[in-house]
């Protein structure tokens, strides 16, 4: 399969991306057309096409920079079967306006795309992992997250989208929260990193962490097979939305 992968955000701007693709799955009350979030997202994507840049840059917010700081650490905690590629943007093999940056893959018999979530609040972490501790696994655990957390839908469709783009039938959500004993190492990792400069000014109790030996584990995984019906539905929604995209404004440099 021929597929474009690039090391910058160029392909993300003005294209539908996995992280926001859930919006395209929303429907109106009748259920026969796009819902409000989808229409707003299409409109914003069109604006980006005209501007040639993103509408807002939220890359330095605490939750985002916290996640970016911890992602490589989580990868180090995973086994050799995992690959890490969060800086690479993949483009759908046949739909050029559909892109996504998976965090990596799990190279096993049932190859899976992975997404790492490092919650910035303990409440958010608990709500994501609670299904596992209630004994739910696989798609059932994912279904629980979709129904009971604010970001559940976004996380689920992000994985579905990346699975489609990367021709995978499986996906894995990895949820991480450091133990208290890991904090020293993490603050050392943060030194000299301007996007997490805020960590210099806060106390240990303001950094989210788990007590060592507590109820929750630091690393939690939900692996599931992506339903073909959801793959088909998302693909048709993206194709439909694609018909509403405007041509990009041709930027010239002086």
């Amino acid at each position: 399969m021929i597929q474009d992968s690039i090391n910058n955000s160029g392909y993300r701007i003005g294209n539908f991306t996995s992280s926001e693709i859930w919006k395209l799955t929303t429907l109106n009350k009748k259920g026969d057309d796009f819902g409000k979030p989808a229409l707003t997202y299409i409109e914003e994507t069109n604006l980006k096409r005209l501007l040639g840049r993103s509408l807002n840059a939220d890359m330095n917010s605490k939750p985002t920079s916290w996640g970016n700081l911890l992602e490589p650490r989580v990868f180090d905690l995973l086994g050799l079967e995992y690959t890490y590629s969060s800086q690479v943007t993949d483009v759908h093999p046949t739909i050029p306006f559909w892109a996504g940056s998976k965090d990596g893959t799990k190279e096993v018999e049932n190859r899976a795309v992975i997404d790492i979530k490092c919650s910035y609040t303990l409440k958010s972490f608990c709500s994501l992992v609670m299904p596992l501790y209630k004994g739910k696994t696989r798609i059932e655990a994912m279904q629980d997250i979709r129904e009971n957390t604010d970001s559940g839908e976004a996380y689920y469709w992000q994985l579905v989208s990346n699975a489609i783009i990367n021709n995978c039938n499986h996906a894995e959500l990895i949820i991480y929260m450091p133990y208290q004993s890991e904090l020293l190492e993490i603050t050392n990792m943060a030194k000299g990193n301007p996007s997490v400069k805020w960590m210099d000014y806060i106390g240990e109790d303001e950094i989210p962490y788990l007590l060592d030996g507590g109820y929750f584990k630091n690393l939690n995984k939900i692996s599931f097979e992506v339903p073909q019906s959801d793959k088909d539905f998302l693909t048709s929604q993206v194709e439909k939305a694609g018909k509403m995209l405007v041509e990009r404004f041709n930027l010239t440099t002086k």
Binding site: F75, G79, L80, E81, Y82, T83, Y84, S85, E107, T253
Partner: protein
Amino acid sequence: MADIDLHQKLQPELNIQARENWLKNINRPPEKTAKQADYKNIPDKSDYDTIPIGILENELDEVYLGLWKTSIPTYQVVANEIIGTMILEVYDPSAKVWLSRIGSGAVTIRQKKDSDITDIGAKIKTALQMDFPKLYSTCLKNACKTLGKRFGRDLNRKFEDVYEEIYTNEIELGSIKDELDRSFINCNTHADLGSLWRNYPQIHENSKAKKLFEDYKYELELKILFESKKEKMMPQTIESANRIIKNREKNSFTKLHQILTSL
């Protein structure tokens, strides 16, 4: 560090390699310097190197084909010193623009030995006849230093850096990188890697190439380590390690290295 793509996008008419070559030339050490003590009797600064003003002006003529000019220096008297600033402009032939550089300096109004600095009566009667023109040369020397080492940058400085043609190195290496990568895949011993390095003498001074070969060396040692530890590994780990080495998954090298060394 700015990236080469951005430069090429914003300044498509600029020949980056020619520009870097120009900058490299004006960042060679100065051809003629003198010990300050040789022409000024300043015992405490006898070790200081300087470029005499006449030589400096001649250098400006030679390098910029006489296309340089200065502003009238601003000046102000502070106690027994005159301080001033001046703008030096040179026409840069490689960038095809006039560049402005600011120089500043101070000269002492000479007084009789051991006198108080506030004692105007102690001023040598014709001191400014020599001291005021010296302000011009001091400011000019200071402005010239910003042009490059050839004009006195880093003279008498404890910490100095060498101009590195980072973009030229990148372009040069970029043109053969795929070829090097393909050859590296067939390297199984240090001797193979050494032979690959010797086959490309044109990149021996290229810092990016040196870094690339350091990475190759690390990767090769990982391969060798893996071969030596294979017997102690579980089949699934062997499979993952094979994949990491074959696909050159650099993000996983450290992790694999740690696992292999712990066996």
